[in-house]
Amino acid sequence: MTVRVLSYYPGCSLHGMSREYDESTRLVYRALGIELRELANWTCCGASAGHSLDQELAIALATRNLELAAAAGNELVAPCAACYQRLKIGEKESASPVTVLHALDVISSPETLDRLRESLQRPLSGLKIVLYYGCLLVRPPEVTGREDYEDPQSMDQVMAAVGADIRPWSFKTDCCGAGLAVARPDVVRRLSSHLAEMARQAGADCIVTACPLCQANLDTRQDKGGLPVLYFTELLACALGLEGTESWWRRHMVDPVPVLKKAGVI
């Protein structure tokens, strides 16, 4: 039964190196009765290259997609934190009638959390996790409208609803290095290795993310390696007992299968 219809902006990463985030988002949303309609002809949000080089172009690239969403007439959901933030800035700058949401916003709404609890097949109680929100999902608060930007809670609520063992840590919104990965991997390695080490010290089996850049940086640039980095939607698919998750695990650089098996998640 469909309870909500949303326009969907996957962004470039979800059609590229982060297809498992795209697939798991679609699968989980469908299971929760939320229909995603991908915007036809969406184009890149401009990301950090846009606002670094040309402010007007950056706004125009985001606004173009909001115009497509306005024509479709639904709220617009983006799973990538970087796309989300650029589209949110576009929404503000162009006074767009479209409300831009991050994929986590939809799942953490009270009614969806209820559906999540009702549909739970396999509680994640054996899995120790830390939640990594990253930067652009929460900052700056003038853009994202979030009040809990130093200690965000939405992913905590979602993962608590499926019974995960959430470990407290202080690095929820520290930066992973974002778009520096190609040109300055040395910087990204330092930042991401530190985050992975802090997650390990917090007692986590894995790091849970809601952004393809965060996932890729943490998954590929840990000095010591070994800590899997998963999308929250991948774990929700497991908790809901959904079919079709197997192909995702082999696209992770740090193999999450041993940790997930040991915790009884798969």
Binding site: M17, C44, A47, S48, S52, D54, L57, C175, A183
Partner: protein, 185 residues
């Protein structure tokens, strides 16, 4: 000119070599508490830290700010902007410095990030959506170097993470108009 200062303070203000493009970002309200630099994840990698860049944006000299490699290391994490007690949009100031550097043809001391941003927008303009392998190739050509992560890239390709075939071109004619709209100013 927007300014957070008025009255006697404004009258006493020394002549400032304010950099074009930073108006409206409250840079002149900075009292150098350095909270921005304390929370910055890459301040240690920068030649000039965020609080120094804000000062240069307000008071100059322009050349020193625009040649800085620090502006190109900013990850746009927005921690500085979020935590500034005076509401200075520090990340916005750094963006404005990058844009000004590009507009005035100033070459950064380390050109890698500028090459990456250019390669990224080249790919957006050519395809509408970014294809990671094309982006990496464009970066290699623009930066005239083999990307440091090439071995990792091969590993990611073998895992099936990086699609070889680019997505079909989307709305490229429309995008070309957007890219060319701002030119010639």
């Amino acid at each position: 000119m927007m300014s957070g200062l008025s009255g006697p303070m404004a009258a006493n203000r020394p002549q400032l070599d304010r950099i074009r493009g930073v108006e409206g970002l409250n840079a002149e309200l900075c009292f150098s508490c350095r909270k921005c630099s304390a929370g910055c994840p890459v301040a240690d990698d920068m030649d000039l830290a965020p609080h120094q860049l804000v000062r240069l944006a307000v008071a100059g000299p322009e050349g020193e700010a625009l040649r800085s490699s620090g502006i190109w290391l900013c990850t746009s994490c927005q921690t500085c902007t979020t935590r500034c007690p005076n509401g200075v949009d520090v990340a916005g100031v750094i963006d404005a410095l990058k844009q000004r550097a590009v507009a005035s043809g100033v070459k950064p001391r380390d050109g890698r990030m500028l090459a990456f941003h250019r390669a990224f927008l080249d790919d957006v303009k050519a395809r509408g959506r970014v294809h990671e392998m094309s982006l990496t190739a464009r970066y290699a050509l623009r930066a005239r170097r083999v990307p440091e992560g090439i071995l990792l890239g091969i590993g990611m390709f073998q895992k099936g993470k990086l699609p070889l075939i680019p997505p079909k071109k989307t709305a490229t004619r429309e995008l070309r108009r957007l890219f060319e709209r701002g030119k010639g100013k």
